[in-house]
């Protein structure tokens, strides 16, 4: 269970939001909404523990996340607006390296399977610098296919995807919620997630 309590965010001189709180239980999804610059990404960065909140606290299973950083990170999968893939490596190498750094065991066959699911069959061995924007995004999203960590925090996951891929990703997120996972995500295009409890949180 993820709890946020009385969060306040100040960037530079401006207060973006204050008194923000929510709880997120198994099988729930929070859609974070707000205009550009409202502090959606800042809130996500607070939730992953990279940005300390001005006031307030974030708790994972009742314990503040800054007191259990390693355990919390082991339960957390974050997909930022940057793809976090290396241009020089192939999609397969990127996926394997990401899994190793996250401390997960991932076999090469499973990684190839995941890449096939995101529509990159036949491109596993091509350096990522030769892929298009959308394909690079798919390499990043392939992590979600194999990820079994309970908490997903996704920043604009639908950006640069075509219609078919948006449906596919909505399916992946539903599957995660059905397994009892939790997710927080921002998006400008409302996408229907067929399973789980979906709530909206508007900030700013």
């Amino acid at each position: 269970m993820l709890e946020a309590d009385n969060l306040e965010c100040v960037r530079g001189e401006r207060r973006l939001f204050s008194g923000l709180g929510f709880t997120l239980d198994a099988g729930e999804l929070i859609y974070l909404q707000g205009r550009n610059g409202a502090g959606k990404t800042s809130l996500l960065r607070m939730l992953i523990g990279l940005l300390p909140p001005e006031t307030g606290e974030i708790r994972w299973h009742g314990k503040p996340i800054r007191k259990q950083a390693d355990e919390y990170h082991a339960a957390l999968c974050y997909l930022g607006h940057l793809n976090a893939i290396k241009e020089e490596l192939t999609p397969l190498e990127n996926l394997l390296a990401a899994a190793r750094l996250a401390g997960e065991a991932l076999s090469e066959d499973n990684a190839i399977d995941a890449l096939e699911q995101v529509g990159l069959a036949g491109r596993e061995d091509l350096a990522c610098k030769y892929l298009s924007q959308g394909q690079k995004r798919r390499v990043a999203l392939a992590r979600l296919v194999i990820d079994r960590r309970p908490l997903w925090i996704l920043d604009e996951p639908f950006v640069a995807l075509d219609v078919a891929a948006v449906d596919w990703l909505a399916g992946i997120i539903s599957g995660h919620l059905q397994r009892g996972g939790m997710a927080v995500m921002t998006t400008h295009q409302p996408v229907a997630i067929p399973a789980g409890t979906v709530r909206e949180l508007r900030i700013g």
Partner: protein, 222 residues
């Protein structure tokens, strides 16, 4: 625990192999700077022998500086640094891996080529041996200290110049004892004391610098 260090080393070495131009250019910079001195000074062997340790070490410091700005900047730009910071291991261990990988592609090649370059300065066999040993022992400290500077200047405009101003003064002890080891050997005093101090600096730098860098990186990622 050590698994994460090896994973990071393996990843960084693989990336370095795909981008060999970076390694080769720092190495050629070292070779050319060192070779300019005998050409400029002329065949005065006594003077060259005296200058050799200092010239080689200063060139090694500058060559190490060349690759430092990219130590974290590439990972920062494409978002992998965030993912490294979110790995379920202390960030200090991740940085330790990056520092070791940096040394393997920047410091180690310098140490291997140094004896060849030392011949241009008419150094004796024994002096060449001590020179190689000193560079081998001292360059990990350069990578470690440099990582702190690279982390502190991450994301700043014109960070490269600031990085030099920040890191080069901290390199002075390594320079003094590194060049001193060769000087002491040439003058017959024996360079073991200097080499021990270099080794101590390297152990301290590899042990502490990654944790200081990790603290700086966390600030840069906010």
């Amino acid at each position: 625990m050590s698994n994460i260090v090896f994973s990071v080393i393996a990843r960084d070495l693989k990336l370095a192999m795909r981008r060999q131009a970076d390694i080769v250019s720092a190495l050629f910079f070292f070779i050319i700077v060192v070779s300019l001195f005998p050409l400029g000074i002329g065949p005065e062997l006594d003077l060259l022998r005296q200058l050799a340790p200092g010239v080689l070490w200063v060139a090694a410091l500058l060559a190490t500086m060349l690759s430092l700005p990219r130590l974290f900047a590439d990972d920062h730009r494409d978002g992998t640094l965030e993912q490294l910071a979110l790995s379920p291991h202390p960030l200090g261990l991740v940085v330790t891996g990056k520092v070791i990988a940096h040394w393997l592609v920047s410091g180690l090649p310098l140490a291997l080529i140094a004896p060849v370059l030392g011949i241009q300065f008419d150094l004796s066999g024994e002096a060449l041996l001590v020179l190689t040993g000193a560079i081998l022992l001292g360059t990990p400290a350069l990578s470690g200290i440099g990582a702190i500077g690279a982390a502190l200047t991450l994301g700043l405009r014109g960070g490269g110049v600031l990085l030099s101003l920040l890191v080069l003064p901290l390199y002075i002890p390594v320079l003094i004892f590194g060049a001193g080891a060769v000087d002491a050997t040439v003058s017959g005093l024996g360079g073991e004391g200097h080499l021990s101090l270099l080794a101590a600096m390297t152990i301290a730098a590899i042990g502490f610098a990654p944790w200081a860098s990790a603290a700086a990186l966390k600030i840069a990622l906010e």
